[in-house]
Amino acid sequence: MSAAIQIPEPTAAGRIPPAVQTADELVAATRAVVEHELAPLTARIDTEGLYPKTVMHSLGAAGAFRPHLPDARPDGRHDFGAAIRAMAAVSHECLSTGFATWCQDTCAWYLQMGEAEARDLWLEQLASGRVLGGTGMSNTMKAFSGIEDLRLTGERVDGGYIVNGSLPWVSNLGVDHVFGSLFTLSGDTNRTVMALVDCSSPGFTLRQSAHFVALEGTRTFACLFDNVFIPDAHVIDHDGAGFLRRARAGLVLLQFGMGAGNIQGCIDVCRGAETLLGHVNQFLDDRPDELQEELDDIVEAVLTLAETPYETSEDFFREILQLRLAAGELALRASQSAMLHTGAKGYLSSAPAQRKLRESYFVAIVTPATKHLRKELARIEAEEA
């Protein structure tokens, strides 16, 4: 692994595209990349674990990672809805790439919400897709819900922190990637720090181990920290808990891009079987029109909540979690339906239906998972009563 930490040059203002894409333009540009570059690779991503690196750079160039980042847009506004729609267009074809898109979007969102120094150094790099990044926050989210302990510990030193510990299963990584994560301070476990980790830092190791039944092409690694130095310039927030409170709504909102894309993909698989099999498929539950109605309602709710990603109230977050739960549950029903609508043809190892079935479980088990969401909602309700 390379020695010195590479800190990029501060963003040149001219790098931000001069004009704002409308959401529709962005979705069209994203679809073009999906059709021409991603679709030919989907099967290999799924079966061989191919990481769609060039596709990711192309999506960045098309603007897919930028709309939710006011400081990466010439108008200084956010359009979370457009980011979610672009991610849905990717996930509709391939959830591995959709998930990599979420990782990228979320890593950039952390920088958007963090200290100016780290933001100036990295935001445009991630928004443009020139640098790819991930988010090692599953452990953090679970820790803040009392499900497990925080796994990274940092010690304050001159000019930064020395971090030790390990994280399992962080995605969209590589030696030239970065990711956002959170560590506790040794000696003061009540204090946490949110920082950007450079995968080329000395003492940092990526390790591939297990293989998954889906989402293989996402470069998912275990991350080992042996005295990794994180400079102050990479600190996203010196108050990690406060940061998570501000960033959590956006983090979960963005995930709807994966859910909506996967569900729409399943519905389209059902519809594709209609011409030949409609006469018998009409006896099935969860017909495509019914699923579509439910998905449309969820998407409308998502786009409404996505208008206020900076809202930090507990009520607002509860609503996001309720909706996130509904999306996970609908994904499972939609993929089940895709299998039943396609029949044995969907059971072929090359069929989209069986791939979408495996992918849909990811929507329901990625943090926050269905059980995690139900626990969190039960906690919120118990606290209110």
Binding site: E148, D149, R151, S166, L167, P168, W169, R207, Q208, S209, A210, F221, A222, L224, E293, E294, D296, D297, I298, E300, A301, T304, L305, D315, R318, E319, I320, Q322, L323, L325, A326, E329, L330, L373, R374, K375, L377, A378, R379, E381, A382, E384, A385
Partner: protein
């Protein structure tokens, strides 16, 4: 070699179990390899973490969460998404007096109509006016609840969906969009209520200003009050402000009242009656700051410092805002329903959209909002009647208002006239140490009753309005 029994270890990231008896042959560890003999660079075969990430496998399963599981919780399965497809459904949005009253009235007329009540809050059934008198009566917030949403729904034979805010209304598809998914409606009743007006206040404790308008916020208030005598700064000398001030002082708390007007209840009472209420409050030690507004609230010495517009300060424990109610109309306005101050409704409580009704604090009929219990119940009856095809519209009569200030009980009808009229039009029927009875002689009936006369309100109201 040791004879100690083999132990099991668990990777606390992924749950992989390392059994010393079995070892990890694929990772180069033969059966019988003790934890102590595992190399430090051993990799978990599932997640890639290290030996240091293994923990002894506990003998007992982890403690079960004490949160109610889905099986025991009141609304079993309430965390699950639910689908409502029926275009026959009457959907009621809101679980205040207005929402529950419509459910009751509609169920009374039609035992088989499918009804679903959707509410952003927990939906508990309680008498809202009792929030103004609970302290003096020594009632805890939990004692104010008549029934949980689930209990009342079961009694009425309706469905209920709590903690579900309506994000959007889609009239073209006749659907409500919520965070739990979409809900189709046949007929829709908006009982959205009102919210306390937010005042523009600066200072590092501006977020600590409480607004009490429902059970949840009232609980919050009581948590801060109970167990000691506090000083409360009340913003607003209207109905809620005066009732709360009387209740708070009765419970031994000290109160300052800040209001830009020159007297309490200026919108409801003639000046001399308001003056008498003020005198009664004086004897309870109420500190009046009339003609004043609050500029800022800051943390100071573990309590708060309220600074008024003229620069004077009040050392206080709590700032409570009761600056008036604003109808909640946004979801209706966004859907294109006609909205002025409230959601515009006719005497059948129909809004400008077909099959969509509005009532209570969120609605206005002929330019007026009816925020009191009695007219709200009549509005609910009118909606149920209209749905059932009966011709029994709501009559927008001036409400009889009972001001729950035990220091000086007051009943008033047609407050706007009462507050604005000059003394010449008042007939002072009785006036003595135990109260006042004033009647207005103009074209529209109006009266004010205080003290022992206040209880005559209902009777007098009937003689005027039948």
């Amino acid at each position: 070699m040791t004879d100690a029994p083999y132990r099991k270890w668990v990777c606390d990231a992924c749950g992989y179990i390392y059994d010393e008896a079995k070892g990890d042959p694929d990772g180069g560890l033969p059966p019988g390899t003790r934890y102590e003999d595992m190399p430090d660079d051993w990799q978990c075969p599932l997640c890639g973490l290290r030996k240091a990430d293994l923990r002894p496998l506990p003998d007992a399963p982890a403690a079960v969460s004490d949160l109610p599981g889905p099986a025991e919780s009141a609304g079993s399965g309430k965390h699950r998404s639910r689908r409502f497809r029926s275009a026959e459904h009457l959907i009621i949005v809101g679980a205040g007096v207005a929402g529950w009253s419509v459910a009751e009235a509609a169920r009374r007329r039609d035992p088989s109509l499918p009804i679903l009540l959707v509410t952003a809050c927990e939906g508990a059934v309680y008498a809202k006016p009792s929030l103004s008198t609970a302290l003096a009566h020594g009632r805890a917030p939990a004692e104010l609840v008549d029934a949980s949403a689930e209990e009342r729904a079961a009694e009425l034979g309706i469905e209920v969906l709590t903690r579900t805010r309506v994000l959007k209304l889609d009239p073209a598809k006749r659907r409500l969009i919520t965070a739990r998914g979409g809900i189709a409606y046949g007929r829709l009743v908006l009982a959205l209520g009102a919210r306390q007006r937010r005042l523009d206040i600066d200072g590092d404790a501006a977020d600590a200003v409480l607004r009490v308008n429902d059970l949840r916020s009232y609980r919050d208030l009581r948590q801060r009050l109970d167990g000691g005598h506090r000083h409360i700064t009340l913003l607003g000398a209207g109905l809620i402000g005066c009732e709360l001030a009387d209740d708070l002082t009765a419970a031994g708390h000290r109160v300052s009242i800040v209001d830009p007007g020159q007297r309490p209840l200026a919108a409801l009472l003639p000046a001399d009656v308001a003056e008498r209420l003020r005198e009664r409050f004086d004897t309870k030690g109420v500190d009046w700051r009339l003609g004043q507004t609050l500029a800022r609230v800051d943390h100071a010495d573990g309590a708060l410092r309220a600074t008024l517009a003229d620069g004077t300060t009040i050392a206080t424990d709590l700032v409570l805002s009761a600056a008036g109610l604003l109808p909640i109309t946004e979801p209706a306005a966004r859907a294109g329903i006609a909205v002025q101050r409230g959601i515009v409704a006719d005497r059948r409580l129909r809004t400008s959209l077909p099959d969509v009704y509005a009532l209570g604090d969120c609605a206005e009929v002929e330019g007026r909002c009816f925020s009191y219990i009695e007219p709200i119940r009549r509005q609910a009856e009118a909606i149920a009647a209209d749905i059932a095809g009966e011709d029994a519209p709501f009559l927008p009569l001036p409400p009889l208002v009972r001001i729950k200030t035990p220091s000086l009980p007051i009943s008033v009808c047609n407050g706007q006239i009462a507050a604005g009229a000059d003394a010449a039009h008042w007939q002072r029927v009785s006036d003595g140490a135990d109260g006042t009875r004033l009647e207005h002689t103009g074209t529209e009936p109006a009266f004010v009753l205080t003290g022992s006369y206040a209880q005559l309100g209902t009777e007098l109201y009937r003689t005027h309005f039948g």
